[in-house]
């Protein structure tokens, strides 16, 4: 046979056994491309785009949903075969473990909900472009890879895939100056932070001689670290800190969240955060477990700053998307608290909180989307939310539920998430941090309540608009409500799942 082909054959030999590890990714990316091309040939349509309609996506939405569903199935399959599949693939680029699988599932669910919400939204806003769905799925692929990557090179690639996709989505409604402005800001700062990230990786690489997280962990070892290594650590922290919007690397998020289409904002607030956080956690737990004493104080400070700046700033926001942006900053702070605990319990809380946070935030954004009207997302709390609860009892109730969940009132996912984080912090002896988190939460209660107040105790300004909630969005809402309640009322199973998922992530530490 042709010796020319030998390298390729070797390559395939090397790749073949690993394919199982990336089935979900493969499925989703295939369907994303399918969604992209399907409508180029205007499959299944007899008419061209109507006047004022931009593009015509008939198949794309359903193809993408199908893709994500299949992805979920694949993830479940992976989860079930975890005992045999667990391990690292592609020369240690990809790792399959509970943590990765769990969070990939979370991300896919998030994506699914986003898509369900998006369909109605796009129809309303007349942006029926297949690209849109393609971009969502591609960023989702980036996220999935990011969660599962076990190597800085891979992390970098995945991170960029995710980010660039989101940059574009932010500016997708390009007729609006605001959208472009948001995209520009996100893009410039994103690229800027990428620079730091890469440089940090370079330094780490130089001092440990490897990009592989595990190997790096060995090389880093414990005890004293050279300043330059710490510099590398710091720069990488900054890189992730930007993606998850930790103060002071958060400045972009309010503007961007406000600029992006509401569904995408939800997508960013959940998917991007989850993925970046996952990578950060994996990086810290695997590579820098030995130097925990070095990053804990930094994260401690960042956590406090993030919680307070986020919550305090949110208080005077009238635009609900912007408010939720600040609130998601604050929640990033809570998540960091879980990381600071640096214990198995902490990681479990971290994972659980990410799941809970995804449900409640996406739910909130689903409502925001549902309340918008064509050409006007009507996101002003004082103007658009007055008395909503009586025009749309179900939407109102759902929103109230999400707000209380975000506040942390039982029996909701948000409450138990906070509870778990508190537990972790106290367990790790960070009582002070826990108390600070309490005060932050109290501040947050104030602005979450504002929404409830407006919906239930306020009167509509001017002519109240009734909106029609598309079926898909209804499904999404039901899903999120159920999720929030399920995680809240019977957290037991989920907690066990979370604990199991983080079992391998970090060495030692007794549970609960």
């Amino acid at each position: 046979m042709n010796p020319e082909l030998q390298p390729l054959i070797d390559a395939y030999r090397l790749i073949d056994p690993s394919l199982g590890a990336i089935v979900p990714v493969v499925l989703v990316s295939l369907f994303s491309i399918a969604a992209l091309v399907a409508d180029l040939f205007e499959l299944g349509t007899t008419r061209g785009p109507a006047e004022g309609e931009e593009g015509l996506a008939i198949m794309a939405p359903y193809l993408s949903i199908l893709g994500v569903v299949l992805g979920l199935v694949a993830i479940v399959w992976q989860a079930l075969r975890l005992d045999v599949m667990a391990g690292s693939y592609f020369n240690g680029m990809i790792i399959v473990d509970g943590f990765g699988v769990f969070l990939t599932a979370v991300i896919l669910v998030g994506t699914l909900i986003t898509l369900l919400v998006t369909i109605g939204y796009c129809r309303r806003e007349n942006i029926q472009l297949a690209e849109y769905y393609y971009l969502v799925l591609m960023s989702a692929v980036g996220m999935m890879l990011l969660v599962q990557s076990n190597n800085l090179v891979m992390i970098f690639a995945a991170l960029e895939l995710m980010s660039v996709g989101v940059y574009v989505l932010t500016g997708f409604r390009r007729r609006r100056a605001r959208a472009i402005e948001g995209a520009l800001k996100y893009f410039v700062l994103g690229a800027f932070s990428t620079g730091f990230l890469v440089y940090g990786m370079a330094l780490l690489y130089g001092l440990t001689g490897t990009f592989d997280l595990a190997a790096m962990g060995v090389a880093v070892g414990a005890g004293r670290a050279s300043p330059l290594l710490l510099a590398g650590l710091g720069l990488v922290l900054v890189g992730f800190g930007f993606k998850v919007a930790l103060v002071p690397f958060h400045m972009w998020s309010p503007d961007v969240y406000q600029a992006a289409p509401a569904p995408i904002t939800g997508f960013m607030a959940t998917g991007v955060k989850t993925a970046a956080f996952a990578a950060l956690a994996r990086f810290l737990m695997t590579s820098f477990d030995g130097l925990a004493s070095q990053w804990i104080p930094v994260l401690w400070v960042l956590a406090v700053l993030t919680m307070f700046v986020g919550n305090v700033a949110a208080i005077r926001q009238d635009d609900i998307k912007r408010m939720l942006a600040y609130s998601s900053i604050a929640h990033a702070g809570y998540l960091v608290v879980a990381l600071v605990a640096d214990s198995a319990l902490g990681n479990a809380a971290f994972v659980y909180y990410l799941a809970a946070y995804t449900f409640m935030t996406l739910g909130a954004f689903a409502v925001v989307v549902a309340l918008g009207v064509s050409g006007d997302e009507s996101t002003s709390i004082s103007r658009d939310y007055g008395g909503v609860a009586y025009r749309h009892p179900m939407l109102g109730a759902a929103m109230a539920l999400f707000m209380f969940s975000l506040t942390g009132i039982p029996p909701t996912a948000g409450f138990f998430g906070k509870f778990a984080v508190f537990s972790a912090a106290v367990d790790a002896g960070h009582v002070g941090l826990a108390v600070l988190m309490v005060f932050a939460s109290v501040i947050s209660a104030y602005y979450y309540l504002r929404v409830v107040v407006a919906m239930y105790m306020g009167a509509p300004e001017g002519e109240p608009v009734r909106v029609q909630v598309p079926a898909m969005a209804v499904i999404a809402l039901i899903a999120t409500v159920v999720g929030v309640l399920a995680l809240g009322i019977y957290p037991g199973g989920w907690v066990d799942l979370a604990r199991a998922s983080v079992a391998g992530l970090q060495h030692g530490a007794g549970l609960p």
Binding site: L152, V153, F156, A157, E160, V164, Y167, V168, G171, R174, A177, R178, I180, E181, G182, A183, L184, K185, F187, V188, A191, F192, T194, G195, F196, V198, Y199, M201, A202, L203, Y205, G206, G209, T210, F211, P254, D255, Q258, A259, R316, Q317, R322
Partner: protein, 100 residues
């Protein structure tokens, strides 16, 4: 005798120059160029380390960085074009509607 330290130092200098560029220039395009400088500084560091360590990973990383730079350039410039369509300028400060 020039050693890795010199290269890294140089990369640090270039990186800093890039940063300062980003912070000071108002022309979106040039800000963008400054970012490219940063990336290249990182590349220099990577290559240096890779060659001194004798590990190809660093070089691969450089390759990826360059590719990413290209991708970002595409998207970034697209955004700049769109931005110009709206404001007839590429002054980054012309965009501050979103704030607070």
């Amino acid at each position: 005798m020039v050693g890795p330290a010199h290269y890294i130092t140089l990369s640090a200098v270039l990186f800093t120059i890039g940063v300062i560029g980003v912070l000071t220039r108002k022309n979106a395009i040039i800000v963008f160029m400054a970012i490219e400088i940063m990336l290249n500084a990182a590349n220099l560091a990577l290559v240096t380390f890779a060659m001194t360590i004798g590990d190809v990973a660093g070089l691969i990383m450089v390759l990826l960085v360059i590719a990413v730079a290209a991708a970002e350039a595409a998207v970034g410039l697209a955004i700049i074009v769109a931005m110009f369509r709206h404001r007839e300028t590429v002054n980054i400060e012309a965009f501050n509607v979103l704030r607070g």
